[in-house]
């Protein structure tokens, strides 16, 4: 938190209006699951077999300069040099969230060293039935729980990331949050799923009003032990208590094609350099206020967490509201 705050203030003092907060690094698109709501992995086999080299990943981080790197995909643990990538990024002082479905985590733990800059962010879409349904495979929840226990037991930082779709039961999700915290994880991330047009299931994406209702019921009177690894203002946004517009440049995405325009979720083409992405993307075409239909129902953290963080650290009032929200969350 302190590093991000210092980074944001530095950008503000330098007069930068658009700057990255989290690099979304997708070193590969291949995955060992085919989840119902995922539109990231539908490519011809030759492209799925391709991956970024260690040097590509480190160069992208250097080029972008964001203090946090979220390694997504595809399943990053399928990358043959994933530990080397993580080590290289940690050596550069980046905070790494290695997003994984955890199917390979226990086997691969030996390749990593616990570090305050490295967190495994485990994909958990709810209790056993909901999660296995979401990833279309029985037994994945249990495998992930075993991997979380193993990683926590060996001193790694572990968080969870949960994507929600229409039909999620708020009461069951509250019990799920209890279960996750009981495992000893550091925090949780929640977000509605983005309505990828390429995802297998097109029927269960949440509309904005549905997201407000679901998150309000799920997050009202949060249990004291819950810890969300997210801005409290973003959680208020999910509950419909606060309005933000998207900050699509906040989480720039780099993958085998280049720098993805405009954001992690939409693919309107690719820039060859990070500078080209920032300078030559028509940002006014994106976000809720733009009227772009593809942004209409989007409330995903990769676009709105940066907005919430900018609001938190952008003014004294924002800082005060964030502090107040944190106190309320933990009361």
């Amino acid at each position: 938190m302190f590093t991000v705050a210092r980074y944001v203030l530095k950008q503000r003092i330098a007069g930068r209006t658009r700057y990255p907060l989290v690099l979304m690094l997708e070193p590969l698109f291949r995955c060992n699951l085919a989840c119902t709501g995922c539109g990231k992995i539908q490519y011809p086999t030759a492209l799925l077999k391709k991956h970024l080299s260690v040097a590509d990943c480190l160069a992208a981080s250097d080029e972008c300069g964001a203090p946090v790197v979220s390694i997504a995909g595809g399943e990053p643990l399928l990358h043959p040099q994933i530990a080397e990538i993580a080590r290289g990024l940690v050596a550069r002082g980046r905070f790494i969230y290695l997003c994984t479905n955890a199917l390979l985590l226990e086997d691969k733990l030996d390749q990593f060293e616990p570090d305050s800059h490295l967190s495994f962010s485990i994909h958990m879409d709810g209790p056993r039935v909901e999660h296995d349904h979401s990833v279309c495979r029985a037994g994945v929840y249990d495998t992930a729980i075993a991997a979380i226990r193993a990683a926590v037991g060996r001193g790694f930082r572990v968080t969870t990331n949960t994507t929600l779709f229409d039909g999620a039961n708020p009461d069951r999700m509250r019990r799920f949050f209890d279960d996750m915290m009981a495992l000893g994880i550091e925090g949780m991330m929640v977000s509605p799923g983005y309505s990828y047009r390429k995802a297998p299931d097109q029927d269960h994406f949440l509309r904005r009003e549905q997201s407000h209702r679901l998150f309000s019921r799920m997050l009202e009177s949060p249990a004291r032990r819950w810890r969300f690894n997210q801005s409290p203002l973003f959680l208020q946004f999910l509950m419909g208590q606060r309005e933000f517009d998207c900050t699509p440049w906040g989480n720039p995405t780099y993958n085998i094609f280049g720098w993805q325009r405009p954001c992690y979720l939409l693919q309107d083409g690719y820039a060859r350099t990070f500078r080209e992405l920032m300078d030559r993307t028509e940002w006014s075409r994106y976000g809720h206020a733009s009227g772009n239909p593809r942004c209409r129902d989007c409330m995903v953290h990769c676009g709105f967490e940066p907005s919430a963080i900018n609001a938190s650290f952008g003014s004294l009032r924002g800082m005060g509201e964030t502090a107040l929200a944190l106190v309320r969350e933990r009361r």
């Binding site: 291949r30 995955c31 060992n32 699951l33 085919a34 119902t36 539109g39 539908q42 490519y43 011809p44 086999t45 030759a46 492209l47 799925l48 077999k49 391709k50 991956h51 080299s53 399943e75 399928l78 043959p80 199917l103 390979l104 086997d107 296995d132 349904h133 279309c136 495979r137 029985a138 037994g139 495998t143 047009r197 390429k198 995802a199 297998p200 299931d201 097109q202 085998i256 094609f257 280049g258 083409g269 690719y270």
Partner: protein
């Protein structure tokens, strides 16, 4: 020279096709004003250009839109396929034991980079073709298979029969490169027995055309075109499901740019493409355009020995016909063997062309 202001405007329907290609999660074939078709995955487009990865996902290609004359959606749409699979099993889960380990369909790499040890798979139809290939691999055919080395690379040659078996074999052998080779009938009057045909694309009877990867073609062309007495021609290969045996039947199939007809290359190319593996179709001309095959050779058979002997016993003309065919088979087999031996020098690089950087 045409300046930017003098360019013809890009028609709206072409622009719409390019937008669709950009949105498409499969390979497309772009026809160009100058030069051959380009096959690849379109991942970027602007007012003046498109960018794509070639089929091996190794080379980026940037094309000016005003050079594109047409777009064909020649590859499978991966997103549509995922949606169909999901629809079929709606609500049903894969059981845990359906996993091939936690690595899913990708399989666990052994040690280091296992792809460097993947063999080249050489697919032929007939045992006679396999014998000439086995000689190059310094291997002895055993039950329709010959395992040896092509250059410094491990190689497996299989006689899969006419038209079939390629998909199963590609799945079983997990090769780094598929070469479909063997005899073909000429559809171009200048091609003689023993001449080589390197397929820039193969077209099946349904009209679907698969273009070969340009880096693979370029490397093959470089070694095949180097001072052999056989002519090397590059163009379209037509793949039929029945033997095209008479001059009249062959003439009916002539199209601009089409060089030869065979029975096996399209299934091999389809199988390789589905598996994301680079492929090459190299054929050698057995029967020229104006030659008829003897009647016994017009039917697909496991062995031609007994029918050939029976044919020879029909009289002096039939015997002469058989002798002429035997001469062509020898010429074609030797030419094919020489060509394969030359490919051995670059085949490791062709496998590398498939590898992720």
């Amino acid at each position: 020279m045409t300046g930017p202001d003098e360019r013809e405007p890009i028609p709206g329907d072409l622009r719409a096709l390019i937008d669709r290609a950009f949105d498409y999660r499969g390979y497309v074939t772009l026809a160009r004003r100058d030069g051959g078709p380009v096959v690849g995955f379109v991942y970027d487009r602007g007012p003046e250009h498109v960018e794509l990865f070639d089929e091996a996902a190794r080379r980026r290609v940037r094309l000016a839109i005003d050079q594109i004359t047409g777009v064909e959606f020649t590859g499978e749409d991966s997103a549509a396929r995922a949606q169909q699979i999901w629809e079929r099993r709606r609500g049903g889960l894969e059981p845990p034991d359906a996993q091939r380990g936690a690595w899913g369909e990708w399989g666990e790499p052994a040690t280091g980079d296992r792809r460097s040890t993947r063999p080249v798979l050489i697919l032929v139809a007939l045992p006679a073709e396999l014998r000439s290939v086995a000689g190059v691999l310094r291997a002895r055919p055993d039950g329709g298979t010959a395992r040896g080395r092509l250059g410094a690379t491990g190689a497996v040659a299989l006689a899969v029969g006419v038209g079939g078996g390629a998909a199963r074999v590609v799945e079983a052998e997990r090769p780094g490169l598929v070469i479909s080779c063997g005899f073909a009938g000429a559809l171009e009057p200048s091609l003689a027995p023993g001449d080589l045909v390197l397929a820039s694309s193969v077209r099946d009877e349904a009209g679907e055309s698969i273009a070969a990867s340009e880096p693979v073609l370029r490397a093959a062309r470089r070694v095949l075109d180097a001072g052999d007495r056989a002519c090397l021609a590059e163009g379209e290969l037509l793949c039929t499901t029945e033997v095209v045996a008479t001059a009249a039947a062959k003439r009916a199939l002539i199209r601009p740019g089409r060089l030869a007809v065979d029975l096996e290359s399209a299934p091999a190319a389809h199988a390789a493409r589905r598996a994301g593996i680079a492929w090459l179709a190299l054929r050698v001309v057995l029967d020229p355009l104006d030659a008829d095959l003897p009647a016994f050779a017009q039917v697909v058979r496991g062995s031609y020995l007994a029918p050939a002997l029976r044919h020879a016993l029909r009289g002096p003309r039939a015997a002469a016909e058989l002798a002429e065919l035997a001469r062509r088979v020898r010429t074609a087999s030797r030419s094919l063997a020489r060509a394969l031996a030359r490919l051995g020098a670059v085949v490791g690089g062709l496998i590398d062309a498939e590898r992720a950087p």
